[in-house]
Amino acid sequence: MEKEELKNIIECLLFFSNEPLRIEKLAEIMERGDFDEIKEAVEYLQKEYELRNSGLQVLNIAQGYQICTRSEFSSWVRKLYKAQTTFQLSLSALETLSIIAYKQPVTRGEIEKIRGVDASYVLRALLEKKLVRISGRKKLPGRPIIYGTSQEFLRYFGLKDLSEIPSLEEIKPPASG
C-alpha cells in the first residue's frame, strides 16, 4: 500500500467515526501489523490539514485520533447544531476531578480530606457524567470504593492521555500577595 493511500484510508475512517480511533483499531481495520507505519500516516494527515489551513483538524485525544472542527468556527457550528449544550462543570466538580486525576486510584475519604468538604454529591454527578469511573475497592477495612478518571475525562478535556496534564510538582500556585 502506498503511503498516500494509507493516509486516505485513515482519513475516511476518522471522518466517519464519531469517537477517537486508536492506532491499534486503525491497524486492525486496515489489516496491518506495523503500528509505526499507521502512526506516521496519521501524523502525515494531521500535518496536511494544518498546512492547507483547513477548518478541520486531526486531534490526538483520549489515546486516539479524531477529526474535529477548529475552535475558531465554533459559533457557526453551534448555529447548525443548537442542541449542543453550553454545560460547564462546577468548581467543586473540577477540583474533585483534579484530585482524582492526580491521586488515582483514590477513595472518597481521601478526596474529602484534601478538599475539606463532603464529596458524595459531586462524585455521584461525576459518575453520572461518566468523567469518573469506579476502579475497584481498596483493601482496607470497609473495602472503600476507589475512583479513577475515564476515557470520557480525556475526551472532555481534549487530552491525549494523563501525561498531558502538568505534574503536581510543576503546578505553581498563583503568586500570592
Binding site: 471522518f15 466517519f16 467515526s17 464519531n18 469517537e19 483538524q57 486531534l59 479524531q66 477529526i67 474535529c68 472542527t69 477548529r70 475552535s71 465554533s74 457550528v77 447544531y81 449542543q84 453550553t86 460547564q88 462543570l89 468548581l91 467543586s92 473540577l94 477540583e95 476531578l97 483534579s98 484530585i99 486525576a101 492526580y102 484534601i114 478538599r115 475539606g116 468538604v117 463532603d118 455521584r124 459518575l127 453520572e128 472532555y156 478535556f157 481534549g158 487530552l159 496534564i165 502538568p166 503536581l168 503546578i171 505553581k172 500556585p173 498563583p174 500570592s176 500577595g177
Partner: protein, 236 residues
Amino acid sequence: MDYKVRLEVFEGPLDLLLHLIKKNELDIFNIPIAEITADYLNYIKFFRKLNLNFAGEFLVMASTLIHIKSRTLLPSMETAEEEEPEDPRAELAARLMEYEKFKEAASILKEREVIQRDIYGRLPLIPQDEDYTIEATLFDLMDAFQKVVFRVEKEVREIIQEDIKVEDRIQEILNLLENKRFINFETIFSGQRTKRLLIVTFLALLELIRLKMVFARQTRLFGDIRIYRAKRELAA
C-alpha cells in the same frame, strides 16, 4: 448609593482560609493564627446572619483553628530544650498548600474545558438497532426517569388517588413487550399522569431488570434507552 452585598462562594473551609490569607497577604507558613481565627469566625457569623446553609465542615475548621491558637498560647512544657518544638500550624499549612495546588490544577482543567467546548467532532448518525449495545446503568435509568417525571409534573393538575401494585405494572410492561423485541423507555410511562404511578412503574422496570427478564440498553451518545425483552429460552 447602592449598597451591594457580594458574597464569595467558597468551596469549603480550606477555600475560605486561603481566601483570607490571600486577602490579608499572609504567608501560609507563618499564619498569624489569632488574627486568622478571628477573621474566620467573623465569616461564620456572617454566614449565620445571612441564614446561609453552610456545611458542618466550616465549624470543624473553626474548632481546629481555635485548638491551634490555644496550643500556640500555651508554653510548651516538655521536650529537651535544644529540640525545636513543632509548630502547631505546620499541619494546617501543609493542608492549605496541597489544597491550593489542586485548586490550581482545577483551573488548568477549566481552561481546557473552555477550549474543548468549541471543538466539535462528528455526531453519531440516527442510531440503528445494533447501536444499542451499551447496558444502561442505574444512573442512566434514573436520569431518563427524572426526565419523564419532570415532563409529567408540568402537566399534572389534580391529585388522583389510586392503588396500583408493582406486580401489576410488571405484567403490563411484559404485555407491552409481547411480540416486540424492544420498546422505548418513555413508552412504558406513556399515559401515566401521577407521580405515584410513575414511580411504581419505574420500580417494576427495575425489578424486571433485576430478574433479567428485560434488558435496558442505550447507544453511546444519544443515550436514549430501549427496553429489550430477554430471550425466551432463558425462561425456565
